[in-house]
């Protein structure tokens, strides 16, 4: 139904329990409840991935809040089940139609929660959605209508991206700084704009006025991934400025060179010496880099591949540990 970890599922099920506990107890619900619900839902977004400790902490808060809303329930000798947490297996057993709508609602909720936090929007729709997801006999009409309302939020989100893109473009037109240029070209590739071609074009056109190797690396990757052409001017740019690149930038350049070589070549990776050489050079910089090691492992002997995988996996960390989200 989702790619969530068991802890994320447990947190979601507890949130449904909390939504059940507030039903009929709305007078006990306060800003703290809204904050706990919204912040917990944000931890279920695809990006950034929340750490287990954050999820565990949210789960504890959700359960404590549920106890506050319905104090008798946890100690009740004959529980009626009204405020019980959701059972994940119940969702899986639903009919295909209901399962699809509930899945869509479930995956949108984290973004609606973010919006509620940022724009201080009323949270009623969130409690309603959590409650409806937990209903055994929820009607598909009611769920579809709820989904339409949540979609409305998503559209507002898209409008925001486009408005911000316009804002960044105007800021860049007013003042040609590296910072305003970076913000503008990267806002071009955000969903739902995703104008990779224009972003690449701008980065190349402004290479002299805004010589930013990190952006050239982005453009080189976008060109390989999206354009799939035999020429990659961003790589040429990096090559002619090679001596001024940092070690980390050089490692990325050689890795992207390898990818471009593979894109242009008809020889298999295993037999392509140029491809291997570029990957080996990339790895030789000893920087924290996962994909160059994985790519090299895939064309190496088992013993070497194991060592490369081990090293690569030690470099993986999740978004929230990188920027303290």
């Amino acid at each position: 139904m989702t790619n969530w970890t068991s802890l994320q599922k447990e947190l979601f099920c507890a949130l449904v329990g909390l939504a059940r506990a507030q039903d009929g107890n709305e007078w006990r619900r306060n800003k703290q409840t809204d904050q706990i619900v919204c912040q917990s839902l944000c931890l279920l977004a695809d990006y950034p991935i929340a750490s287990d400790s954050l999820l565990q902490n949210a789960l504890t808060q959700v359960r404590a809040e549920k106890d506050r809303l319905s104090p008798g329930c946890s100690a009740c000798a004959s529980p009626c089940g009204r405020t019980e947490d959701l059972s994940w297996s119940f969702l899986i057993q639903e009919s295909e139609t209901i399962k699809t709508i509930k899945r869509n609602i479930l995956l949108t909720l984290p973004y609606v929660a973010m919006k509620c936090i940022i724009e201080q929007h009323p949270t009623e729709i969130i409690y309603d959605a959590l409650f409806q997801i937990g209903l055994r006999f929820a009607s598909s009409e009611k769920l579809s209508s709820l989904w339409a309302n949540l979609n409305f939020f998503s559209q507002l989100q898209s409008e925001n991206v486009e408005l911000n893109n316009q804002k960044y473009r105007e800021a860049f037109e007013r003042e040609h700084t590296n910072q305003s240029f970076t913000a503008y070209v990267l806002s071009e590739i955000q969903t739902p704009i995703e104008d990779y071609r224009n972003s690449i074009r701008l980065i190349l056109e402004q290479a002299e006025e805004h010589p930013i190797p990190l952006l050239w690396l982005c453009a080189a990757e976008m060109s390989i991934y999206w354009e799939k052409e035999s020429v990659n001017p961003a790589l040429d740019l990096l090559k002619s400025n090679y001596d001024s690149l940092s070690h980390a930038e050089k490692a990325m350049f050689h890795y992207l060179q390898a990818k471009q070589i593979d894109l242009n070549s008809k020889i298999s990776k295993t037999h392509n010496t140029d491809y291997r050489n570029e990957l080996e050079r990339s790895v030789s910089f000893q920087t924290q880099f996962v994909y160059n090691r994985i790519a090299l492992a895939q064309i190496s002997s088992t013993a070497q591949a194991m060592a490369l995988y081990q090293e690569a996996l030690s470099f993986v960390h999740h978004a929230e540990t990188m920027d303290n989200k």
């Binding site: 790619n3 970890t5 695809d46 990006y47 991935i49 973010m114 940022i118 911000n164 960044y168 970076t182 913000a183 990267l186 806002s187 590739i189 955000q190 930013i212 990190l214 952006l215 690396l217 982005c218 990757e221 991934y225 990325m252 890795y255 992207l256 924290q288 880099f289 996962v290 994909y291 994985i294 088992t302 591949a305 194991m306 995988y309 081990q310 690569a312 996996l313 470099f315 993986v316 960390h317 999740h318 978004a319 990188m322 920027d323 989200k325």
Partner: protein, 38 residues
């Protein structure tokens, strides 16, 4: 949130370096590694 996303490092960490990937992608790499071990 918007400001963070507009940093080239965020893009490169995810799409070039692979140091900031989803748990699912990490699980795939772990699986490939386990297959090498067996």
């Amino acid at each position: 949130m918007m400001e963070d996303e507009l940093d080239p490092i965020i893009y490169l960490n995810e799409f070039v370096l692979g140091v900031s990937i989803s748990r699912l992608q990490e699980m795939d790499l772990q699986k490939e590694y386990q297959e090498l071990l067996s």
